[in-house]
């Protein structure tokens, strides 16, 4: 299991479009990805509605958990995605 945290800088937070892109990116990976907020609420990375339902806003820190055979590389890919898009 691999974990990293990221603080959202996008002014609207994880809104519809970036959430959609994030789901797409996660689906392309082999690992199972979970995204959790500081308050403990979490969602599977492949579920768009659930992710939007977390209502993650700018300035909030999320914990991303990556599990699977290729978790090391997948976590790195995903971390870069967050930096570039969120």
């Amino acid at each position: 299991m691999k974990q990293f945290t990221y603080t959202i800088t996008d002014p609207v937070g994880i809104h519809a479009r970036p959430a959609g892109l994030l789901v797409k990116a996660i689906k392309a990976l082999e690992s199972t990805v979970t995204i959790a907020k500081a308050d403990g609420k979490s969602a599977a990375g492949t579920k768009l509605m659930a992710l939007m339902g977390l209502g993650i806003k700018q300035g909030e820190t999320v914990t991303v958990t990556v599990e699977g055979a290729n978790e090391e590389a997948d976590a790195a890919t995903l971390e870069q995605f967050f930096k570039d898009n969120l």
């Binding site: 002014p11 609207v12 809104h15 959609g20 509605m49 209502g55």
Partner: protein
């Protein structure tokens, strides 16, 4: 004549017949389905068809409206495919043995309700997207084609509310404007209308009746007024505004993207006055170089109790971020006098214009002041915020304000909260006292901004609220203009900039005088930016004279 008041969400005046948008009627049966596997296949086909349509719509949007609108439909396509959404539909089929239609309805309602319940205006508005997507799948399931516009001439389109895809699929050459019963300034219809430059009014409620179908109407997307078969007087008001608007449009075309510079190369910063974060769109569409006055009162006037730091922070941050590095001057609380707020429980004053108002309230109530300053400094991390204090008369007041700022900065440092240490601090020049001690004041701050309405009132001893002062209330009075000159000289001596954020700034007949005085910035309503720019670009600063100062 019938006059209906709504909320203007996209500017412009048009006239034309009202036309009610027709949708194919949809009735969904809650009866049990005979063959669940068959229902699943139907659903699968409808989803596929929806994906194809959305891809085509995204292409169309990319060509006609722009990237942002195209992304909207790509996001809709993601909704159609979403695991949660699909799981929810399949679960309904398996557990309730319902039809594919009912399954789509259940899933759509569930997720629209989830988004509508979120404490975030942006996410709430996304509920409309879910409804739009569900409707698309339903239409594909049932073979319904939503009604277009069955009219030869262009119309003012009326509807309860329009889904984004409905808005985009319409034949634009047939639409003069939108009027809807529901909706908000945040809705896609409003956003698309603004992008397409079509006037739109929402929130007309039940007054917008289907009986009005086919009747001639004038609509004004700025004031939110709809006039059905207007009388002569109303007609002439709308007509003159319509003509003005056509002129403005021509100006817009030529002036957008141009610099605010005179023929001999003097730069003027042309900024905008705004009263709430929603006004930023107008600033951007009119190409304002910044915001010279963001009145923070809306936060206090609109609520029934003191606005929290968080509420204030969000409003300031949104504006700072939207302006993307351009200067945003935010004026601290300026209530009292003509602006009263109950929960402040201000004492009744014989002469409120000379009473405890604006900065005086803040200095008397450090907690109220501190909350606002914290919100302002926190927002400074998201753009170029400048803080401005109103109603200054003395140097000690400015020093006290600065001490309050330093205290807040120290707090934020201790908490590890990001902010910009170099956030500019400025004051309003609106009292004769501030003009007399302008040199000392200029040494304390980073900029001046002249509030000409109050400066005129206090200089000429004329109550600005009184209606019968007429010729005595003269903002062109040489005393007011000389006061401007004194303040400008003091500012420049200290190496700081000075602007005007009162109504006088947009007075084109004074532009030459302002140039001669050496004013650096004019902050005007967004709609005045381009006419002012046109005038600046025709001026020659060198030849401007101080003759209006009569000295």
């Amino acid at each position: 004549m019938i006059l209906i008041q709504g909320k203007g969400v996209s500017k412009g005046v048009v006239k034309g017949p009202v036309y009610f948008f027709q949708r194919g009627a949809v009735t969904i049966s809650t009866a049990q389905a005979a063959d669940i596997e068959a229902e699943k296949r139907r659903l699968e086909e409808a989803k596929e068809k929806s994906m194809e349509q959305l891809a085509a719509l995204a292409e169309k949007a990319r060509e006609e409206v722009g990237e942002e609108s195209a992304m909207l439909f790509e996001t809709h396509a993601m909704f159609v495919e979403d695991e949660d959404f699909v799981d929810c539909m399949n679960a309904a089929l398996d557990e309730e043995h319902c039809t594919a239609e009912r399954a789509v309805e259940i899933a759509g309602e569930r997720f629209a309700a989830m988004l509508a319940a979120m404490d975030d205006a942006y996410m709430q508005a996304r509920a409309a997207d879910i409804k739009d997507v569900s409707r698309r799948i339903l239409n594909n399931l049932m073979g319904v084609v939503d009604g277009g516009i069955d009219s030869e001439e262009p119309v003012i389109l009326a509807a309860d509310d329009l889904a984004p895809s409905e808005t985009l699929q319409l034949d634009k050459s047939k639409i003069l404007g939108f009027i809807t019963q529901g909706g908000s300034g945040n809705s896609h219809t409003a956003i698309l209308a603004r992008t397409m430059g079509i006037p739109a009014i929402c929130g007309l409620g039940e007054f917008l009746k289907t009986e009005l179908n086919g009747r001639m109407a004038y609509i004004d997307g700025e004031t939110g007024q709809v006039a059905i078969e207007p009388d002569d007087i109303t007609l002439s008001v709308f007509q003159s505004k319509y003509e003005k608007q056509q002129e403005m449009k021509l100006l817009m075309e030529t002036m957008k993207g141009q610099e605010d510079v005179t023929l001999d190369g003097r730069n003027m910063m042309v900024y905008c006055n705004i009263g709430s974060p929603e006004d930023v769109a107008a600033v951007l569409s009119n190409d304002g170089q910044g915001i010279g006055l963001f009145r923070s009162e809306f936060l206090y006037l609109a609520s029934s109790d003191y606005p929290t730091e968080e509420e204030q922070f969000k409003a300031y941050r949104d504006v700072a971020a939207a302006m993307d590095g351009k200067r945003v001057v935010i004026r601290t609380l300026d209530i009292g006098a003509d602006k009263q707020v109950d929960y402040f429980q201000l004492q009744k004053e014989e002469n409120p214009a000379l009473g405890v108002r604006a900065i005086r309230i803040c200095l008397n109530r450090p907690e109220v002041f501190r909350t606002q300053l914290r919100a302002l400094y926190r927002a400074s991390a998201y753009g170029k915020v400048a803080i401005m204090f109103p109603m200054i008369t003395s140097v000690w007041e400015v020093r006290e304000c600065k001490r309050a700022c330093q205290k807040v900065m120290a707090e934020l440092d201790a908490e590890g909260v990001l902010y910009r240490k170099d956030t500019e601090i400025g004051i309003m020049i609106e009292t004769p006292a501030s003009v007399f001690v302008a040199e000392e004041l200029a040494r304390e701050v980073d900029f001046f901004s002249v509030g000409t309405n109050d400066l005129t009132q206090y200089t000429l001893a004329c109550d600005r609220q009184a209606n019968d002062l007429g010729k005595f209330f003269d903002p062109h009075h040489p005393a007011v203009l000389r006061a401007l000159k004194v303040a400008t000289d003091a500012a420049h001596k200290a190496g700081i900039w000075i602007g005007i954020c009162g109504e006088l700034g947009a007075d084109l007949s004074l532009l030459e005088t302002f140039l001669a005085i050496g004013i650096d910035e004019l902050s005007v309503s967004p709609s005045s930016v381009l006419p002012l720019r046109a005038e600046i670009r025709k001026s020659i600063a060198k030849t401007c004279t101080l003759e209006k100062l009569e000295c």
